[in-house]
């Protein structure tokens, strides 16, 4: 009775692969390697996009108000609550709009940073 000798077969890479030290992304960034630069560039890009978006929205809100006042005489004649509509818009309504934009900017900038932190820590 010659049983074939039992051979234990294991996946060759699991152990070996783990033995190679993982370089944390934080080090890549610290050491200014190309990998680190790519990570940082992605963060800067997303934040820059957000900054541009918020500035554009501000410009749209302010510019829109300016042109509405200047070019729409029928709007200028409206009197909700007995106050001239352009005054109500530029004197009151525009402020909550700006607060809303600011809250949006804060929330998304923090989200970008959170995403970046998770991306860097996950490795």
């Amino acid at each position: 009775m010659t049983h074939p000798r039992r051979v234990r077969i294991t996946h060759p890479r699991t152990d070996a692969a783990r033995r190679v030290p993982v370089r944390p992304v934080v080090h890549e960034i610290d050491e200014q390697t190309q990998v680190g630069e790519v990570y940082m560039a992605s963060l800067v890009r997303s934040q820059r996009r957000l900054a541009l978006l918020v500035c554009s929205l501000t410009a749209v809100v302010l510019g829109g108000t300016a042109f509405l006042g200047a070019l729409a005489p029928s709007f200028a004649r409206m009197r909700p609550f007995g106050i001239a509509a352009p005054w109500l818009l530029l004197g009151v309504v525009i402020y909550p709009a700006m607060i809303g934009l600011a809250a949006y900017a804060v929330r998304h900038a923090e989200r970008n940073e959170r995403d970046f932190t998770q991306l860097v820590r996950r490795q």
Partner: protein, 606 residues
């Protein structure tokens, strides 16, 4: 007795400011504390302090006055003052905090490693600071003169004295408390009279009315220095003094057109008289006043848009605003602070509009003297009368003084910080006590010069002069900050070229407007509101020169970018700030405690 209440209010504000400042003194331990409150100020406190510092004479008095005179178009000023923080929040708040820069020159040096850029930035900080301080001191002079009849030079001097005392006692930490307190004081000082005025208005079922502004009741107006006024429709006015070179005493029939009033002349307006308007202000029909672009200026749409560019982009370049961001613990808090600032400003700016609009109805006689900046001061008394009116008038005076004190002390600290680092320089290894003495010496210089400049009385509105300071800031520091933070290829040479180009052009435009008075036509519009062309030009010059000198991009730009943009929660090896520069990051120098804090103020002799 009216004067008594106003003077009392003023003394209370001055004493409280110094006292609140002194409360912070016990916590001042190190030089770092002295300068920037150790960065341990919560966003709420910090935001109130920023609001307190930012709401200057221009906001408290100037806007209402301009609204009375020009109408709808002026509403852009407060909107711009708020939107400036929105741009600041989106573009520079967090990175600027993370840079660890205490002043704009520090930022320039951290980012570009160039002493030349640093020096240039220092020069601009001092220029902008002084340009901003002059109207504060003029506002103080105006307030004191309006409420107590004090001589022109006294109001500014009071502010100078209190500011120097507060700065000497506590430095920045104390100022954080004092500033936060002053935001709430200013807000209350406008809110309470505003509610009173609104309810009176509501009871009377009043409207601004059609036609030209008319006196609501008999008012006697003294003309201090000879002026030219415009009469829009033929009417009979009671004039006592010199009119068009003849001496008159009694009712005179005035044809429409320009008329000259000699110094010391008294105009006795009766109820229903159309108010003659000083020649430097537009004589608008109330319908035009209500209407967008109805201010009667040349090219009003261009002027509105250019003003918005100046204010939105200039806010980030104001020296006293940047220092406040340094006291936030980290970049995230810097953003949150800015958001709260926007909420606080939005609430405040509802009020000057109200005062300006009611002023058109209740204090139109200011159009005759051109002294419209006094609108806020006079309105409560005029509308309510009696003791309530007097008390509210005193409250408003207190708020106005809080406005001058807070903005002036913030600017003084910032300008003095730059002066003491880059101008009043001692040996690099000088002792801490010497440094603090240099700082105090600089403080005297920082506020003394604008005080002298404020003495000749000016006839440009407070808010307008402040607008010019914004234009210079927007044309110089905005490109430096935006490109410095978001564009890796900026070089020192590019920054120098852009700062010189934008700064010099805007300054020339400002000087021409201030010295020569407003010109007409496109030239006048372009010079009075230069930001719309100087800001893009400065950006273009900075980019083009940087690209031409691309070999000189600082070698450590990658590290600086990490420092500006990476969240603090990551354990990155943040590069230590450059130790060669005295002001880059004081906390890193871990100064030993001052052995005897309480004697520190006295060694300057203040």
């Amino acid at each position: 007795m009216t004067h008594g209440y106003a003077i009392g209010a003023l003394v209370v504000v001055a004493v409280t400011t110094v006292a609140v400042g002194a409360l912070g003194l016990r916590r001042v331990r190190t030089t770092s504390d002295f300068y920037v409150a150790s960065r341990a100020v919560s966003p709420q406190w910090n935001a109130a302090a920023i609001g307190g510092e930012y709401l200057s004479a221009a906001s408290f008095l100037g806007i209402a006055g301009l609204i009375l005179a020009y109408g709808y178009d002026v509403l852009w000023y407060p909107v711009g003052y708020t939107a400036g923080y929105l741009v600041l929040l989106a573009v520079v708040a967090a990175p600027l905090r993370r840079s660890g820069a205490y002043t704009l020159p520090d930022f320039a040096e951290i980012r570009l490693r160039s002493v030349v850029v640093r020096r240039l930035a220092s020069l601009l900080v001092v220029l902008i600071g002084w340009l901003y301080l002059v109207p504060q001191l003029q506002g103080a002079a105006l307030t004191l003169r309006t409420q107590t009849g004090a001589p022109h030079w006294l109001g500014g001097l009071v502010v100078v004295g209190v500011v120097l005392a507060a700065v000497a006692i506590g430095g920045m930490r104390s100022i954080t408390f004092a500033q936060a307190f002053q935001y709430w004081l200013k807000f209350t000082a406008l809110l309470v009279p505003a509610i009173a005025v609104l309810s009176v208005w509501h009871q009377r079922h009043d409207t601004i009315g059609d036609g030209y502004p008319t006196a609501l009741r008999a008012t006697s107006v003294n003309i201090a220095s000879s002026t030219t006024v415009r009469v829009e429709q033929a009417e009979t006015l009671v004039v006592r003094g010199v009119l068009d070179g003849r001496s008159v005493d009694g009712p005179v029939a005035l044809p429409p057109g320009r008329h000259h009033l000699g110094a010391g002349t008294r105009v006795e307006l009766r109820a229903g008289d159309v108010v003659p308007v000083i020649a430097s202000l537009p004589a608008q029909h109330n319908d035009d006043w209500l209407r967008p672009l109805g201010s009667g200026k040349d090219h009003p749409l261009y002027a509105s848009l250019s003003l918005m560019v100046a204010i939105c982009l200039g806010t980030m370049g104001l020296p006293h605003v940047l220092v406040r961001f340094y006291t936030n613990p980290d970049g995230r808090d810097a953003r949150r602070t800015t958001l709260i600032v926007i909420v606080l400003l939005s609430s405040f700016y509802l009020l000057p509009t109200l005062f300006g609009a009611f002023g058109r109805r209740y204090v139109p006689d200011l159009l005759l003297t051109g002294n419209t900046d006094a609108t806020v001061l006079l309105l409560p008394e005029r509308m309510l009368g009696g003791l309530p009116g007097t008390l509210l008038g005193a409250l408003v005076t207190a708020g106005a003084f809080a406005a001058f004190l807070s903005t002036a002390s913030g600017l003084t600290v910032s300008v003095a910080g730059v002066l003491s680092q880059d101008v009043v320089r001692g040996r690099p290894d000088r002792r801490r006590a010497t440094r603090i003495r240099a700082f105090r010496l600089s403080a005297i210089l920082a506020i003394g010069v604008p005080y002298l400049l404020s003495l000749p009385s000016e006839r440009i509105g407070l808010a307008a002069v402040v607008g010019l300071a914004f234009a210079v800031a927007a044309s110089s520091f905005c490109p430096l900050l935006v490109l410095g933070i978001w564009w890796r290829r900026l070089t020192g040479a590019g920054a120098v070229a852009g700062l010189i180009c934008g700064g010099v052009l805007a300054t020339i435009a400002v000087l021409v407007t201030i010295i020569g008075g407003p010109a007409r036509g496109w030239t006048g519009a372009l010079l009075e509101q230069p930001a719309a062309w100087t800001v893009p030009l400065a950006f273009v010059v900075m980019v083009v020169v940087s690209l031409l000198t691309r070999s000189r991009v600082p070698s450590d730009v990658g590290r600086v970018m990490v420092r500006l943009h990476a969240p603090e929660s990551l354990d990155l090896a943040r590069i230590p700030p450059d130790r060669s520069s005295a002001g880059t990051d004081r906390s890193s120098q871990s100064p030993p405690p001052l052995t005897d804090v309480s004697t520190a103020p006295t060694d300057s002799g203040l």
